[in-house]
Symmetry: C2
Subunit: 100 residues, 2 copies
């Protein structure tokens, strides 16, 4: 069987578009705050929050909360598990869509 073409080969926690965008941005930037992620991906506050929660629940991102002047600031980073899952997803995706 052609295992690489099974849909199960792609991690659902990462394949969803907003989460894929977050993991991709965090993998390259190392960290980003809520507004930056939201504005770059072009999604609503609620949508952004929902998907960040899913990634956190999977252990793919970690969250740091601090006060910047008087304003709360929340910064997100990929965990080691998240980086490995993202790298594995990209490899699986390439195998999934490559021509035979």
């Amino acid at each position: 069987m052609d295992r690489c073409r099974k849909v199960d080969a792609l991690d659902d926690a990462i394949h969803q578009k907003v989460r894929l965008g977050v993991m991709s941005l965090l993998a390259s930037a190392g960290e980003a705050d809520f507004s930056s992620l939201k504005n770059t991906l072009g999604v609503s506050d609620g949508n952004m929050s929902t998907h960040l929660t899913v990634l956190e629940e999977h252990g793919y991102i970690s969250i740091r909360r601090e006060i910047d002047g008087r304003r709360p600031r929340t910064t997100y980073s990929p965990t080691g598990l998240g980086r490995r899952a993202f790298d594995a997803y990209v490899l699986a995706l390439e195998a999934f869509i490559r021509p035979r």
Copy 2:
């Protein structure tokens, strides 16, 4: 703004995993029948049917029905629109996940 990182840059009709698998298989093979698509992607009959209908409604695939001996056989091919949409999706995806 970084247009390439907006989630809207990725075509929802193609990004869904089963539909991505179908478009990818049809783009490389030219055509495939229902069982072959279903078995290769590892999905149920119902799931396969649902996503083939979405792709047909978008005008991305065409369907040919014929009788093979006594058994009905349904073959799917990408339309020109479907091939262009798939190519555009792959380019958009590469821009979406590439490191900066």
